[in-house]
Symmetry: C2
Subunit: 204 residues, 2 copies
Amino acid sequence: MTQRRMRLLTVETILDAALVCIDESGQLTMTELAKKLGTTASSVYHHLDGRAAIIEALRERVLSAVELPLMDSSSWDVQIRSWMHSFRHAMAQHPNLIPLAMEQTITAGRALVGYDRIAGLLQAAGVAPKYVIVWLSVLECYALGSALDLAAPDEAWRVGREDLPTLSNALELASRGRQRADEAFELGVDALLLGLRTRLEMHR
Amino acid sequence: MTQRRMRLLTVETILDAALVCIDESGQLTMTELAKKLGTTASSVYHHLDGRAAIIEALRERVLSAVELPLMDSSSWDVQIRSWMHSFRHAMAQHPNLIPLAMEQTITAGRALVGYDRIAGLLQAAGVAPKYVIVWLSVLECYALGSALDLAAPDEAWRVGREDLPTLSNALELASRGRQRADEAFELGVDALLLGLRTRLEMHR
């Protein structure tokens, strides 16, 4: 039995189990992971160099579903928008991975290719090279915050008091659930790109 | 000893312990919480009506540090900006609470007052009542994504390959660590508010 388990222990089976750990509990410890795999932490280390390496491999796996933006400078905003959609969608499948992934340096290869393309598109739009990383951070923060927002319940706010008429009224008129989250995401991406474009024009 | 523990079990001590659980492990289970308090889950239920109630009380506690925006329509953008700062700062103290708080309906009283004021400011700016909630969602997603970004390491990206010159060059020129995160946050808030203002003017 032990031999069979040892034979089945591959990078892929470890990553599968690690993602289940994170999805279920919001955390990843080598002890819990080894337990789930029916093996020891040192056997896991034989395949993957610890917790950070596993989280990085999971970032790579989850973001491999994200379509790489085309380096088409004539449609930089379309390309950025489409990457943000795809990025949010991929991360929203594993919301518990988001805080863990944000805590560590991004080194995952294909993920970096995506960021490199977005960096190129921002430069093509007219962003000065020294501001490219802060813009990349802005887009990422918004996409990840919005990915977490997809886990919100249908009723995101509930006002059980009489003294907040503005919020109560707004909630009565507003869309709910997935529709609210999707509309908000679109609106925010629109506003960010419009803000970026207006800013670039002001400095031209 | 048991009696002493029972006497010490108050809403406040439960919330203290729950926040430690979340900060440490990124999750909250009634079993773990009771264990940390040296009591039983049913004793905890005697004070607070379960996990959701505890997370809601923690939202209230953490957001009680956020200054309520003034209902000054002449400076709606200043008020919104200042609330976003304060909101991001408060949530960034407990990043692990963010995904848990986003998963459930917001009912915490003082938190709702803050949202009600922002809703009022958005309406004062010219946002139609039926779009107030989506705008509130946009601002919240960005503030929460940015709060998580404060947990990023000094080196947020590392390119260990030759074929991504745009990203490599951008990283060399960019600020790092806390400065990167803060500059990005300001830039994003600027862009969102500029995008909102431009949009409102276009529809006027």
